[in-house]
Symmetry: C2
Subunit: 216 residues, 2 copies
């Protein structure tokens, strides 16, 4: 039986959304992608909020209308039974631990710094937050670097969901004002992720976002 075709509502240049696309591509699973401009209110329409009251992307929708939100929960569901999610309960728990680390200690700093620099006006008051975000994001990168000094991956002994989740915003951390040269193990790990079968890069940002990132 071929796997069910799922629908993903996502913004292609969002790391959280790219996680889902990357795993679907690596699984070779059929999917339909509906582009949502979440930076400009696309997740705040009544139709969207009816499906996801928390108003965020990505959102996965099944043929029977079932809806799953939260990028890392989507990764776990899609990876179930595949090599991208460990079978062993302890190894799976360790992978989950990195998924929660990503959402609590990494994304709120590294992804948010990128968003502020790329998607808010150059005179936005939110830019005053950047020094604090860069300080906290650097702490997250240091935790990752330490782990990678003794391990090749974040998902047990192999590449998997936690690597996909952490790759999402680490690979474009420079957009947030981070310099990965200071993290040689992370740099090597990024290259290993990019060499995985079925890897697809995250689509590039629009010209106006690129210009803001260059000016920040």
């Amino acid at each position: 039986m071929s796997p069910e075709t799922v629908t993903v509502h996502g913004m292609s240049t969002s790391g959280n959304c790219h996680k889902v696309r990357l795993l679907l591509e690596q699984l070779g699973r059929p999917y339909r992608w509906i582009e949502v401009d979440s930076a400009n209110g696309g997740t705040r329409t009544p139709a969207y909020l009816a499906k996801n009251p928390n108003g965020k992307v990505p959102m996965l929708e099944r043929a029977d209308g079932g809806v799953l939100v939260e990028s890392n929960a989507i990764l776990c569901w899609l990876a179930e039974g595949s090599p991208y999610l460990p079978d062993d309960a302890w190894q799976r728990a360790l992978a989950l631990s990195w998924l929660f680390f990503e959402q609590y200690s990494h994304e709120p700093y590294i992804a948010v710094a990128r968003f502020i620099r790329g998607w808010t006006p150059l005179d936005s008051p939110r830019r005053a937050d950047l020094p604090r975000l860069v300080e906290r994001g650097a702490q997250a990168l240091a935790v990752m670097e330490k782990h990678l000094q003794a391990a090749a991956w974040f998902t047990g002994n192999d590449y998997g969901v936690a690597d996909i989740a952490l790759f999402a915003y680490t690979h474009c951390a420079d957009d947030g004002g981070f310099d990965l040269v200071a993290y040689p193990c992370i740099t090597d790990w990024l290259a290993r992720v990019r060499a995985q079968p079925g890897f697809v890069p995250m689509p590039g940002v629009s010209d106006d976002v690129a210009a803001r990132l260059a000016s920040s």
Copy 2:
């Protein structure tokens, strides 16, 4: 075979730590609790950071030295094979989705508002963040309220890990400056959680914290 006795490093008045205690009590599983004063540097000692470089509680330690961090990953591991974690992959994914919601959209506002009001000096500059935290925390409570208008629990059809995780800081949201009277479905759900077999309340805060909460 009796289950392995695990060691939990935690601060008893932290909701994230209480999640782990509550589930262990409900599972009737033996455990050792090591109190860590994370509000006063207990997670920043070299010995602690050697085990958890991210410097947070709770931390679960096994007899063989294996360490698991992130409260919600600990819940999933402990609940594996019990009624507190659904067997069905889709139901489990939905529970995971609430666990990620809790850590991304709920705890950073509701728990952090409580921490600032109870554990920082009355003249702390961090108190300037409170209006924003209360606004965002109220959005999280609204998402929960909406879910509970159509469902009894957050973990599939039954009480489980996602209820434990969301109970942790929702039940003491008033410490953060939230009034739960505005959320009748949440209020009813809190009562249902408290009525679960093996329920144990979170230990009370110290007198000085209580005094700050009363003055905030």
